[in-house]
Amino acid sequence: MMFADLIHTMPWIFLGVCVGILVGAVPGLTGAMVIALAVPLTFSMEESDALALLVSLYVGSVSGGLISATLLKIPGTPAAMITVLDAYPMTESGMAGRALGIGIIASLFGGLFSGVALILLAKPIAAWSIYLGPFDLFSLVFVALVFIVTVAEPGRVGMGKGILAGCLGIAVSLPGIHPATGEIRYTFGMPELGDGFNLLPVLIGLFAFSQAWKDLTERSPGLGTVRTEPVKIALPMALWLKQLSNLIRSSVIGTLVGILPGIGANVGSVISYGAAKNLSRTPERFGKGSEEGLIASESANNATVGGALIPLIALGIPGSVIDAILIGAFVIHGLQPGPLLFQNNPETVEGIFSSYIVANLLMALVMLLAIKWIALLGGVSKTRLAPVILLCCIAGSYCTGNRIFDVWVMVAFGVLGLVMERYRIPPAPLVIGFVLAPLAEENLAAGLMIHGGSYLPLLTTPFPLTCFGIAGILIFLSIKALTKTASSVENGEAG
């Protein structure tokens, strides 16, 4: 990317990072929510500016959670839920500034590490992906789907709920036009359903509307006073040298978890926290203010962002909920993620790479300079904010298709989101199922057409078989890790 272009998009990156950090820091506002609301706003922007803004929002929102986690014991985003375990105890013992400083530097390291991985891996993966046939793509998508539904919630019941949510997402994707034949199906006599449910109203409903409604109708217990302290960045070099292996390991885990389709930052920090604890010489400090734990969590959750952009850009398969929204944004701006993106729009790819790196640097800078003021926002009354967000939800879902039908769809999915939350059913599998099901169905149909209706090649050709094998192992491992950490989180909360 030319330097001049970067100067041009810089204000958008700055805006995205700032808004993202705010959103991350304010409990009740999530990255998925704000990015879903921001996509319609980018309709009339230049594609490079739009993508730079959205990517920076993504980076900022994953990072901002650190602030409220450290100062208020509230994870501002799900990604920061593990950060709370060690950052808040540090605050209690008067080391808030140190905790923030460590968290910011760890975030920056994780973000840049996965950025390098993104730049190095995306193009070769995209070039190689042309050898993937319909059945190969189907198995990749299928594995992503299976993976997200099984690891969204720990435990056997959690897995069952994940599967149910995934099936619900697939069912929601069915109305509209058959991906392989073009016939209209399951519209139940509603002409508006002719091209199915739009992605944005579904997302805004599930993530923004339901959260805002909860904030509006629930009185949360009073927050503690916000303590602000100057951030300490002048940390001894010895600390970082000692923690280098932890930093790198957690960043690698974060990046890999990001690449795995369907799961996001919170799982990345859970797994790297578990790994750091198992390998630590002082595992008993974890959960009581361990700097190691904080570093593991914060570097991993930021590393998932760059990792998740790899399958998105190289294959057009979303690695997380936010990536699913980003795919929609790509298409709106006339870009098709995948191998042809590198061929037809190399400048766009470079633009995304450089905005990602710049966004990470700006993130660290903004957090270091402005943390005092951002921390105060953690105390903003959620009930005051909620009606404004509801208004944005309505306007945002209307913008996507200029019809009231989409607003009703948004409200319906918002209500569905509340019901699901009531029964602790995770919403992420629903979204991923909704996004991936048409892709899976189209490729399965094409594969069956190539092979004259035989499913056998799915089990006899190496690529699908490898996919299924890897998925099996990963699911087994992550269920183990998740169950373990989940129980330690519960114990930590109790004690």
Binding site: N344, I404, L448
Partner: protein, 400 residues
């Protein structure tokens, strides 16, 4: 201005639409932004459906080649070009039949002989219902007994990926798509025309090889039905000016686009002529290979349901949340307010700004009563107003 391109970005239609729209956009005196929206899927019918339902005010245009006609005859969509107002056609494209570089087929005849010797085994990637599918069907007609095994693929970009990855044995591209993709490990067998194409002097024509299949894909622009004639005429002249500009001439030459502009009436006449050709063809396609999605879904639900049946120990994970909810009457009041707000937006009377201020004010009163009244009033006016100004003035989105 919204231009719906019913194919994925990167294909031939998308590129041409973008070049044209950029030209129109740079016209002196053109203020309205022209935005291209890709609505891919189902042989172009998802996009065309959207334009059919759009308001006939001249602000939405469909850019769709002969697919508009073939989808109807393939039974994919109940409507054809008659459901739209033709605006004009910006040239037409010749088509080529392609195979992977390493394919044993050297000529069009090799391919068709193989398709005849063992019917339903030679795979052909097509966008079912779109011209690529129709062309293969007309080839089959030329060689009685030959039949391809059709594989649902997509627009040019997707067909290229399928062909160059060796997943299918043959497919069709427009001449300009072929020019873009030919370095990528594919080989052309024939141009579907009476004579060779000037840009591809080494590729033999179909007629040369004994098959009289001619196909030129018209690049049509369509407005929703009942768009007023003066609007159509002004759009037509905008398109004609852009298409006949020297820059576009050069582009057409590079991309092997036949540079004849058809006006509204000529486009309608060409469509009638083409539909006469299509009537005789069998465009039904094989449905038995479609996956039983409903069955898979039921298996998934059964599996998930089985896992969720709680065991005695699992109940503990459902810890109640520590938050206190607002009273039922307040919640019902808020819900009624929200529904009322959205319902009021669906009538022409309701407008976003006043309804939004009312909604915000009432919601604020329900939540915090009359304490802090000044803040409530301030927020409920400032928030809808700034949102409205931001969306409508800055971003050009029309709210109700």
């Amino acid at each position: 201005m919204k231009v719906i391109v019913p194919f994925a970005p990167g294909g031939g239609s998308d590129t041409l639409a973008r070049v044209l729209v950029r030209k129109i956009q740079n016209r002196p005196g053109e203020h309205a932004p022209w935005v291209i929206i890709n609505v891919p899927g189902a042989g172009g019918t998802i996009g065309s459906r959207r334009v059919r339902k759009a308001k006939p005010d001249g602000h939405t245009l469909l850019f769709l080649h002969d697919g508009i006609l073939t989808a109807k005859y393939a039974g994919q969509s109940p409507f054809g070009p008659e459901a739209f107002t033709p605006v004009g056609a910006t040239g037409s494209l010749g088509m080529v039949i392609c195979v992977p570089e390493a394919s044993p087929f050297q000529t069009l005849n090799d391919l068709l002989v193989a398709a005849e010797a063992s019917p339903d085994t030679v795979t052909f990637a097509a966008n079912i219902g779109a011209p690529s599918y129709f062309m293969a069907r007309s080839l089959e007609q030329e060689k009685p007994g030959a039949s391809f095994r059709y594989v649902q693929s997509g627009g040019g970009a997707r067909r290229f990926a399928d062909l160059s990855g060796g997943h299918v044995q043959s497919t069709a591209f427009s001449v300009s798509e072929y020019l873009n993709f030919r370095e990528g490990g594919i080989r052309a067998l024939a141009v579907l025309d009476e004579s060779r194409h000037p840009a591809l002097p080494t590729v033999p024509s179909a007629l040369e090889q004994g098959y009289s299949v001619t196909y030129r894909n018209l690049q049509g622009w369509w407005a929703p039905a009942e768009t007023p004639a003066p609007v159509v005429e002004s759009l037509q002249s905008v398109l004609r000016d852009a298409f006949e500009s020297p820059a576009l001439r050069r582009y057409s030459e590079e991309q092997c686009l036949e540079p004849d502009f058809l006006d509204s009436r000529e486009l309608a006449a060409a469509m009638i002529q083409k539909s006469e050709m299509l009537v005789g063809l069998d465009l039904e396609f094989e449905r038995r290979y479609l996956p039983p999605v409903g069955l898979f879904l039921m298996i998934g639900v059964a599996l998930g349901g089985l896992l969720t049946i709680p065991s005695p120990a699992a109940g503990r994970s459902l810890t109640p949340t520590s938050t206190i909810r607002q009273s039922l009457s307040k919640r019902l009041g808020l819900a009624a307010l929200l529904v009322g707000f959205i319902v009021s937006l669906s009538f022409p009377l309701g407008m976003f700004l006043p309804a939004g201020i009312l909604f915000m004010g009432a919601a604020g009163l329900i939540i915090s009563g009359f304490e802090n009244l000044r803040a409530t009033i301030l927020v409920s006016i400032a928030a809808p107003l700034s949102l409205y100004l931001f969306l409508s003035s800055l971003l050009g989105i029309d709210l109700p």
